[in-house]
Symmetry: C2
Subunit: 620 residues, 2 copies
Amino acid sequence: MSPKITVELLRQLRQAMKNCKYFSEPIQAYIVPSGDAHQSEYIAPCDCRREFICGFNGSAGTAIVTEQHAAMWTDGRYFLQASQQMDNNWTLMKMGLKETPTQEDWLISVLPENSKVGVDPWIIAADQWTNMSKALTSAGHSLVTVQDNLIDVVWEERPSRPSTPLITLGHEYTGLSWQDKITALRAKMTERKITWFVATALDEIAWLFNLRGSDIEYNPVFFAYAIVGFNTIRLFVDLKRLADPAVRAHLQLDSPSKPELNIQTFPYESVYTELQAICAALGPKDKIWICDKASCALTQVIPKAHRSPIPYTPLCLAKAVKNATEIQGMKMAHIKDAVALCELFAWLEKEIPKGTVTEISAADKAEELRSQQKDFVGLSFPTISSVGPNGAIIHYRPLPETNRTLSMNEVYLIDSGAQYTDGTTDVTRTMHFGTPSAFEKECFTYVLKGHIAVSAAVFPNGTKGHLLDSFARAALWESGLDYLHGTGHGVGCFLNVHEGPCGISYKTFADEPLEAGMIVSDEPGYYEDGSFGIRLENVVLVVPAKTKHNYRNRGSLTFEPLTLVPIQVKMMNTELLTQKERDWVNEYHRRCREVVGAELEKQGRKEALAWLMRETQPIV
Amino acid sequence: MSPKITVELLRQLRQAMKNCKYFSEPIQAYIVPSGDAHQSEYIAPCDCRREFICGFNGSAGTAIVTEQHAAMWTDGRYFLQASQQMDNNWTLMKMGLKETPTQEDWLISVLPENSKVGVDPWIIAADQWTNMSKALTSAGHSLVTVQDNLIDVVWEERPSRPSTPLITLGHEYTGLSWQDKITALRAKMTERKITWFVATALDEIAWLFNLRGSDIEYNPVFFAYAIVGFNTIRLFVDLKRLADPAVRAHLQLDSPSKPELNIQTFPYESVYTELQAICAALGPKDKIWICDKASCALTQVIPKAHRSPIPYTPLCLAKAVKNATEIQGMKMAHIKDAVALCELFAWLEKEIPKGTVTEISAADKAEELRSQQKDFVGLSFPTISSVGPNGAIIHYRPLPETNRTLSMNEVYLIDSGAQYTDGTTDVTRTMHFGTPSAFEKECFTYVLKGHIAVSAAVFPNGTKGHLLDSFARAALWESGLDYLHGTGHGVGCFLNVHEGPCGISYKTFADEPLEAGMIVSDEPGYYEDGSFGIRLENVVLVVPAKTKHNYRNRGSLTFEPLTLVPIQVKMMNTELLTQKERDWVNEYHRRCREVVGAELEKQGRKEALAWLMRETQPIV
């Protein structure tokens, strides 16, 4: 991986920062956030502005350019990758380390007095705008909106915004019609005395209308906005996409069943003016719900007195709790995914000794095997296929220039997942195809202990996921080890592989309490820089737990693993495991045999079945 | 415990709420917060306004009276107690339960349109004011300041503000002169470009000047404010207290060593006008530090542009990390405290079978035994001495009408502590003097497992205490049990038994990371309403931990128990303990024998020594 050379680009950007064509007064700093106008985590090529300006292509990071400096903030998953992708015009700001200044503090420390800091209001979230603006104002500077995006100004061959065909999902996949989802949303609005709701997150809009697209790689979403009132539903989307008769029928565009379920369609770009028109006609008590992570541009259209910002929208909450149909779909998707992975590992075992398998070819093989499964749509994120030292780059993605050959001497970590029409998967396994060192086994075992501690945890109804994070770390901490990322994220159902509002992280973001039906990942890890990486990830379903007692009738919850792929026993130092942990591993492997074994049998995949049987022998 | 009859009081208060003597327009609701003008947790009798109006005398709670309703919010520690102390004019609002509305939501649901909600600006914290005001304004109401406190208006025989003699503490107790503390504070101010600091918390002022008082029962503090600039130190206190030559010499009032260490003294009440005068003379860039929990009245004196509110002051942070002298003092205090408790338990064992010991007489005996120890000053909080069902009232305090006799058939819980000139103690033990039931033992053992899980936890430097809270609950959760309070609080050194900014709680308040030298309590519990209460509390010191590895050189921390009082083995179901947990108990009891045994020997307290030796026999 060689860094992107940014001397000339930065020169051009700094010129634009002084060019009065774009603003009345020059700006002294320009912020380039990571997201698009929908605050998506994964973004379309046309929105990869931060990558364009600094070279770093991880999923999270903010670049700030001043007249003298250029700095980029990212979190522990990306420290190594970012340091390799950026040239020395850039300072890497390692978030989460004590010595790293916040963006605000850094700006205040480097800016001359009374500076103006610019940002594109469409790609900064309203809450971030507020915080940043407050901090800068209190130090005598100001945060200003720049309508023309200055990266676009210097980006000569910027791709155009995608507009892929829409897929309609029937009841057998969603369990709930879009009409019922609209009705439930309106009931929440009534309950909270809200007259309008503005949906800006792409996965929420896809979920609400039971539609999918492929505008953004890995995420089956499409560029759109929606505004829902009590008598109207307005959908903002490239209108060409609605020519498809299947889509028109699905949305009942030509023959709405009831007037209040009549969807009015508008061009994607007109959301701003339509929202302005709605706001101009508001009654004195009317309130509009908008996520506080929505774009500053759209949020500020709504007069403050009518704005009711919320950390998570009712759609986000409803989407997180999967219904019976969705749970069944997720289970099926994970069984198919496990079939593909068992085949992959059986194949790797045979091929690695020949010295012909690389990180890239292994990832390709995984994709090929997954694509043979029913209802396969695509990958759910770029496969992390990493050997030895590359495994320590937490969100590594193999590239030709970094591609390493799998060997009998190094740890192999593969974090991968797919989109199937019935569900989304995300699984990480760490394997050794020769003889792991005692230290590698020790670390693997601590990570496994953490994984089990979360997976087997029993906790009261109403518990927030962040309260479980330390369970994943206790064994590592005891030995002086740790990992610099959260333990789990929400997972969508044939939707984004990362979704809110629940998760398991030491960061006490305002996560919502875990509820039966929610689906999250459980993925502790350990990373030895320059040497190896270990991560064990299952997707798990929140389920009611039976307990001996039931304090104040609150009821208890625990997790049921949806991922059913063997965990390599060879990597375990089983002496470090308690009897309870050994029992957990054995029971987990028994389930893998039972469920995935049956499917392998059915699909006639004998080699993979033999591998599964061998890898799931009970430990004693 | 019979409830306070409040019909007449509420009538008078509601009359005052309509009396235009106090404001230009009548108010529709009046908020009565718990604290005094310093946001103290424990308060002087003259400040017990919330207790006066509703009868509930726990340490935390907010009362709100409207024309039709009266409601009082408190947390899980106090649900039972509050329900017993308040008459049915009051609605108990159980904080932390899902169905309980916030004060803001409740007000909005009961108030007529455009209501005015009044509060005394001196006893509401600035941050609470801001949040409450925002919520009310957004619903069309307004929060207004009422200069005359309306409770004082209806409180006929309100006590006067205390003004007790001041005690000076020398270097042998503090390890750091007040001059050095001022210098360190100014260094922090320079670092953050702050020109003034306003100290409003009584324990911070006592700590800063190495002075103690006894204005508030249990807390060795005195009513004062302090304002520190670079060339001036202003102390606001009842000036009569400064007549004492020892105090004058300690503060160098008559012969300051350097001009910048010259303390100017002012009457307590003049803080408002002095701060106004300071603010009138500020330069354009001058910034004033004030805690965001300081009173709204004082905070609003400072123009917004000059106000730099902070969640924890530099004094709060400095005070939390104890120096070597303070740690040594805390250790000595805990040894003396253990001597008294060993004596108490040996005495109880003899006396209980006679049927003559009550909750109150046991508490009195504990105080008597503590008072025999060197440098004893008083109790650090009201002793919780509770038998059987009373033990389930988390912050119970025995009163003649609730006083129960200790017996061989019920669990006894005693949570008590003292102020010694060298340190502050806080310890809870739960004992059975007959034969505990299997369920009592089971619950005790889960609580013990939680206590050990926190006490033995190893975690990286920089970890916040709230990340450890779930360790204390895991064993209870697994059986469907829990407790509705935090796990630990900071403990002062001959200061408040509860202090910030560190703690161990599921509430993710902005706690500061744990550091070596901090002192917190570790006190999980279990409460079976109407039957028994269990809590096990040690005060523990944060110390560096030796670990096998050291990830990124961050270093690790763990806890060292300062409390050295045996934990009753009879209450344990040792089969539920792991070998590691048994080892922890045995090692803890070995330390008790070694350290407290030696002191009991030295003090010639033979019966207690025999009791200690018997109670600390290793379990197998």
